[in-house]
Symmetry: C2
Subunit: 467 residues, 2 copies
């Protein structure tokens, strides 16, 4: 089991903070067991380590007030959006206070003329897109879960659209952040580009709450494309599908999404979502552009796919048919879980240079078979990012050990191929040893930054860095 | 005059370092006056503050060796690429050692299948593109000058293509950096996306040599587009031209370049480059894509421009005609200088939200007139970034004072409009007060990072931060 080792608790400080926060926030401060449990880690196999209390913040000032109390008493602070992170990010290994920002859910400003907006961190991506739709705008980052924008920024999320629109690092223009001393800073102006000093925006994006708490996010937006076309294509092998993806990227085809589902996932989706897809590896695609543009892209893809044995390829611009086509991808997580009721899903998240994708996926399949593990694979293939989701019976200690073996092997293998142990989920608790393997002495520089900004280590301690 | 205040010199340390470096590097360490002068600031109106000596490094190990000597004796280190920066970045206000990386000019590796490459920092962008051409690849960032890739990363450069391809922050995948203690780190893997810890790559991009010295850059590349189309369009007013740009961006037209030249610049180019352009504001454009795609983009632009009174619009895919069309833009800097022989050009570099572009450019024109200054304007209009280049007689103290007045007004105005004092040139020496105005207490966080990583302030001191 990827164990989140508990750190020593500052009982005296925690006790003092609990008292002050109760007084300061009344009903908006909760210490009941179920609320605390719900604010610890709730997904995958990492154990739940609940905080000692939860503040439901309503403003940056609220957050600053909580931080000041916790700073005075050296009490850990853990920011919480929707709790959909996958690496134990919201766990409280040394106890402390969870700051829940879900009530900070206002879209503060939409500047349609500048294709940008300012939102509070608790706005979810679906709520934002609902808000934007009437203005012909959308926010493209789609990690699957209906995560909060603050949480997506904090973990440098990406997902299915990243191949075309980039990740959170590319789509956050500026952040308001409460620092460990309670100061509220703004990292950048609203200009589309800047050379004004150190890139604090990008430093905060992906810092997983360990340097400060995001209280407002300024985002780049996109116009809803004139035309959207979706397609699926089946392949004789996972290697053939990956080679097609590699050809698409090398050709420069501006696909908006290009997702890989291996045969096991397709089978699971057929069963779960009542579909009739051929049970072989599948690519799902989306093209964005003008009417003529998407037609041309779809045609070019068809020609490329044919070279690698792609079959059953058809593109459609009908919204209804598109939704049906993508159903499999959207249901994939639940469909996979349904493959083995009662199991826990263990997320992996390696990302390799695109030229190594076919090799990496092939080897991951072989390794899972060798270890007798059920490990369906979906991938944001256009970025070289894929997830082998291990379905594990947590009662079977031997199987758990084999799963740990697989995770360790996969992360090492990705690093050896010039890639990373995490394309989009972040380091959290579970991947700290792999961060060291991947970046070596660069992690010392991260540590120096952490100590400079948060000398008492109160901001989401036990994540990213191993002290 | 934007004076670069000299800091106290550590004479003893500098003396010791000079002796050791002479022994260690022989002929590759130079202390002659002309070489030192050439490695101080040589552009715009900031005074030249030469270093005490120049090491011509040939490897990361060389750089590390110099850094270790300088660290031991607390001597400033100033990295030098091609010296084309515009804000005094290569000046040595407290003396010290310039590390010239121009001999580190190898393209280490091109991974055509991954659309990436690794280069030493002294490779210039033109040399890189010459190297890549045969493989059908190019590196899109074009700041005008044939700058070094290391320098472009250090200042977070961008330029004409940024509206489509982003800035250096978007196109650097990973860096090798020599840190202030001589340690050599690698900031990230070669994966196209990552969530592996703090984004040290983006922290180093734009840090202007104040946190470490870049010794290798891994870059994203692009396939050379199937078709490139260029176009120009004249407008009755600078506001009409800007409004067209705003419409283009809001429409989502994926222009590769959209550059603004005001009437004064067009006039200067006609005279300097023997052209016959109508002497009114001009937009120059480039479209990248498939044959059908660029034709469609060009047509859409024409329709948008017409709404704002655009005239003389024609697009061409002929390479020869494209080159001629862009001649004006490439010669603009020299053409502007020729408007007033003997003058100094003072670069400004504000960037505003695109919806404020017409207003900002209009006000800048008015302000220059009010102050009786010659201030031709070119702009990377699609990003809201424009340069009013003041042509100043440095012998005329009153004119210099009026120019200072203008620069100060323009930076303040951009900040007030939600923009930045620097879109792409960086802070260097000259813009430090404006960084404070723009980002306030966020600059304290930058200072904390600087002190943590470079506690003795030996890395390019006197840049970005005001101690």
């Amino acid at each position: 089991m990827v164990q989140a080792v508990a750190s020593p608790r500052n009982e005296e400080g925690i006790g003092a903070a609990l008292g002050i926060l109760k007084q300061q926030f009344g009903e908006r401060f909760q210490t009941g067991a179920s609320i605390r449990e719900q604010h610890g880690h709730t997904t995958t196999w990492i154990v739940n380590q609940p905080p000692d209390g939860v503040v439901f913040a309503q403003s940056a000032q609220d957050v600053s007030d909580v931080v000041k109390v916790c700073a005075a008493h050296r009490v850990p602070i853990i920011p919480f959006g929707t709790g959909t992170s996958l690496e134990g990010h919201v766990n409280a290994p040394a106890g402390g206070i969870s700051i829940d920002v879900s009530q900070m859910n206002a879209v503060v400003e939409v500047n349609a003329g500048d294709l940008d907006c300012r939102v509070q961190p608790g706005v979810t991506r679906m709520a934002l897109n609902t808000h934007l739709r009437d203005q012909g705008l959308f926010f493209p980052i789609d990690p699957g879960a209906d995560a909060s924008i603050g949480g997506m920024a904090a973990t440098r999320a990406s997902g299915t659209n990243a191949v075309r629109y980039g990740t959170m690092k590319d789509n956050v223009l500026s952040l308001e952040v409460v620092m460990p001393d309670g100061e509220i800073i703004r990292t950048a102006s609203r200009a589309r580009k800047t050379s004004a000093g150190y890139d604090l925006t990008r430093l905060m994006v992906g810092s997983e709450g360990t340097l400060g708490i995001i209280t407002e996010v300024t985002l780049r937006l996109q116009g809803i494309p004139e035309a959207i076309s979706a397609a699926s294509c089946s392949f004789p092998s996972v290697e053939a599908a990956c080679e097609t993806v590699m050809a698409v990227i090398q050709y420069g085809l501006p696909v908006a999404r290009i997702e890989l589902l291996d045969a096991m996932v397709v089978k699971a989706c057929n069963s779960y979502s009542k579909l009739n897809l051929p049970e072989t590896p599948l690519l799902l695609l989306e093209f964005h552009g003008s009417d003529a543009g998407v037609a041309e892209q779809a045609e070019t893809f068809g020609a490329l796919a044919e070279e690698f044995g792609g079959t059953g390829y058809a593109a459609t611009t009908s919204a209804e048919e598109r939704t049906k086509l993508w159903q499999a991808r959207h249901d994939a997580y639940w469909a996979m879980l349904a493959l083995r009721p009662g199991c826990k899903a263990v997320a992996t998240d390696v990302c390799v240079p695109i030229s190594k994708l076919a090799q990496a996926v092939g080897e991951a399949n072989d390794k899972a078979q060798e270890l007798d593990l059920i490990a369906p694979i979906v991938g944001h293939a256009g970025d070289g990012n894929f997830h082998a989701s291990l379905l594990i019976d947590m009662e079977d200690a031997q199987e758990v050990a084999r799963a740990e073996n697989f995770v360790s092997w996969l992360n090492d293998r990705a690093i050896a191929l010039g890639g990373t142990c995490t394309g989009e989920h972040g380091i959290g608790q579970g991947k700290r040893p792999y961060l060291l393997k991947e970046l070596g002495n660069a992690v010392d520089v991260m540590g120096a930054i952490k100590r400079a900004i948060d000398p008492d280590d109160i901001m989401n301690p036990g994540k990213i860095l191993t002290k």
